[in-house]
């Protein structure tokens, strides 16, 4: 009681301690967020002409209009995320279950973790350029596959082929991230009360039963957390696709020509900076895309929070 009284007296210092965080947050994150919303209402009429205010102009034209660029980019981003996340979570779960298996203890686990995690820490820009040089038409891996293994490589090489590029980008993401997810899941499994497994063993449960009836259900919160952070990160994917093949070749979807590996953030950057892939500057358009990406990201985290709060209520 006495304790509490004292801290109340000092309470005003609390504001001083949190002030720098909130001041910087307001100036460098909150104001920019508001400004992005505002900028999305500035419509550019034509090349070089001034912008005019129009609340929904950019949205009706570039999001809900005949120009489907945003939705294609979002689709490509989601496809890239799924192509890397599904194998990633399966592989990580499998490895995590092996590394925590008490019957078949693997030696040198520390070393495996260190090596498998390594690609995650290397600069993504470097990795993207490295893979570009390995997979371009004269790249070491392509030459090896084509000339020595006699694998048939499509004309113009892998980088000029939409689906191959998507698969390699997804592979790079997988390769960079499954070690991270594996370590997280191992920590999660280690946190499960060992007496549960002992009880299950006394009852004669097999290793598979233990995994599906104990490990998986108890790992659910961590799996959900992994999924939402990976999904939010995946929606912002930029470095790898941007430097691997700069948005890739055009791909035909229905009647529309679509840049086959251009993610949403790449699209936004192209309209802010002109970029290597398009020469059009349109900040209003880029802002409208940013706002939509923000809403999608928010929706993903809301679904996650609802799912986890529901779980707590059930308990």
């Amino acid at each position: 009681m006495n304790n509490k009284k004292k801290t109340v007296e000092y309470g005003k210092y609390g504001y001083a301690f949190i002030a720098p965080f909130f001041i910087v947050f307001l100036i460098f994150q909150f104001y920019p967020l508001l400004y992005t919303f505002y900028a999305s209402t500035l419509v550019k009429a034509g090349r070089g002409s001034a912008v005019t205010f129009d609340l929904v102009g950019n949205y009706s034209k570039f999001i809900f209009g005949s120009d489907k660029t945003f939705w294609y980019s979002l689709g490509i981003t989601v496809v890239l995320w799924l192509l890397n996340f599904i194998p990633q979570i399966i592989m990580s779960l499998l490895l995590a279950s092996w590394f925590t298996d008490q019957h078949n203890k693997l030696k040198g686990q520390g070393a495996y973790k260190v090596i498998i995690y390594m690609p995650n820490i290397i600069t993504a820009a470097t990795i993207a350029v490295l893979f570009n040089n390995l997979f371009c038409s004269q790249g070491s891996i392509i030459v090896f596959l084509r000339d020595i293994c006699k694998v048939k490589i499509p004309d113009g090489g892998i980088l000029d082929h939409g689906w191959y590029s998507l698969i390699i980008i997804a592979f790079i993401q997988f390769w960079m991230w499954y070690g991270n997810t594996m370590i997280v899941l191992i920590a999660g499994i280690m946190g499960i009360n060992p007496s549960l497994y002992e009880a299950a063993m006394v009852d004669g449960a097999t290793a598979n039963q233990q995994f599906f009836k104990i490990t998986l259900p108890l790992l659910k919160p961590i799996l959900q957390y992994t999924m939402v952070t990976s999904c939010i990160g995946g929606l912002q994917m930029f470095d790898i696709p941007s430097l691997f093949n700069k948005g890739g070749p055009d791909m035909l979807i229905g009647q529309d020509k679509v840049r086959s590996t251009r993610t949403v953030v790449m699209l936004i950057k192209d309209y802010i900076a002109g970029g290597e892939t398009s020469s059009s500057y349109n900040v209003g358009r880029a802002s409208a895309y940013s706002v939509c990406l923000f809403i999608v990201t928010l929706a993903v985290s809301m679904i996650f929070f609802l799912a986890t709060s529901e779980r707590k209520e059930h308990k």
Binding site: G11, I18, F28, Y35, T126, I183
Partner: protein
């Protein structure tokens, strides 16, 4: 039970070798691209385009000369490799210091003190953790312009003061490993509040700060998107990832040996740091997942 276990072991005798083989294969998969990078950095372009080589060659010095040559690698005119590494350090070191110091500062504020809006402030910090910075980049460019920070590193460094995730981890650590009694004892000795934080609390937070510093360093060091847009046309300020992006820009007549060496030079520092600190990094990654 004992019998059952030995039986299980017998029938599963193939399990362990299979797992070892797969784990070793995955390790090779992790290392292989970097091994090719290392070898190709020592070969000349004509050799590299013939396929995969496993034995180093003797062209490393020539590759280095090309890498630094203003005609073979035009970005040297504006910013060469060493300058880009220096620029990355100039951005990253203050970022890490500010991020870790102010995250501890903020977390200390919401842990040690009781004030009216404490719960609200903490809930807010928790809620904004998920907002990605890529989305607000247009506004950040505007702020940078309004505050006359264009063409400087400040818009990359200052936002580190408000890093919600780092605050979150520092608070987690304080809740388990920091006792408020120490603060009260120091008050009785007449120390001021900020002095207590700097002299007494900070040293106790060192382990958590070290872990967070590593991750803050990696995030800032590897960042491509924000510097690319914030520095924009000021190419003479390029950071290392921007330099790497520039390496790939020349499409016709690539000098592969030069490019691989350039990439290798950017990988070596981070690789060395990683193997020195890998124990802490792996532990830190594990910590990140079990926070829920």
């Amino acid at each position: 039970m004992n019998v059952q276990m030995t039986e299980e072991k017998k029938s599963m005798s193939w399990v362990k070798p299979v797992r070892y083989v797969i784990c070793i294969f995955l390790c090779i998969l992790s290392i292989f691209p970097f091994y090719v990078l290392l070898i190709n950095a020592t070969l000349d372009s004509n050799t590299i385009v013939k396929g995969i080589h496993l034995i180093p060659g003797g062209s490393i010095i020539n590759n280095y000369k090309n890498l630094m040559d203003p005609i073979k690698n035009p970005q040297n005119e504006i910013c060469n490799m060493w300058e880009s590494l220096l620029h990355s350090l100039i951005v990253t070191v203050p970022t890490v210091i500010l991020q870790v110091y102010f995250a501890s500062f903020t977390a200390y504020g919401v842990t040690v003190y009781n004030f009216k809006f404490k719960k609200l402030a903490w809930g807010f910090i928790y809620a904004i953790m998920m907002i990605p910075t890529q989305i607000t980049i247009i506004g950040l460019l505007k702020v940078s312009n309004l505050l006359h920070m264009d063409g400087t590193y400040l818009p990359l460094i200052i936002p580190a003061i408000a890093a919600p995730t780092t605050v979150y981890f520092m608070k987690q650590y304080m809740e388990s490993g920091f006792s408020v009694e120490i603060v009260e004892a120091a008050r009785i000795d007449g120390a001021g509040e900020f002095k207590i934080f700097n002299i007494i609390a900070l040293p106790l937070l060192k382990p958590a700060m070290a872990t967070q510093a590593i991750f803050a360093f990696v995030a800032s060091w590897n960042n491509l998107y924000t510097p690319q847009l914030v520095l924009g046309s000021a190419k003479e300020l390029s950071t290392m990832p921007m330099y790497v992006a520039g390496l790939q820009a020349q499409d016709y007549q690539r000098d592969y040996g030069m490019i691989y060496l350039g990439l290798l030079m950017t990988v070596i520092p981070i690789m060395v740091a990683y193997f020195l600190l890998s124990k802490y990094i792996v532990a830190g990654v594990a910590l990140g997942g079990v926070k829920e």
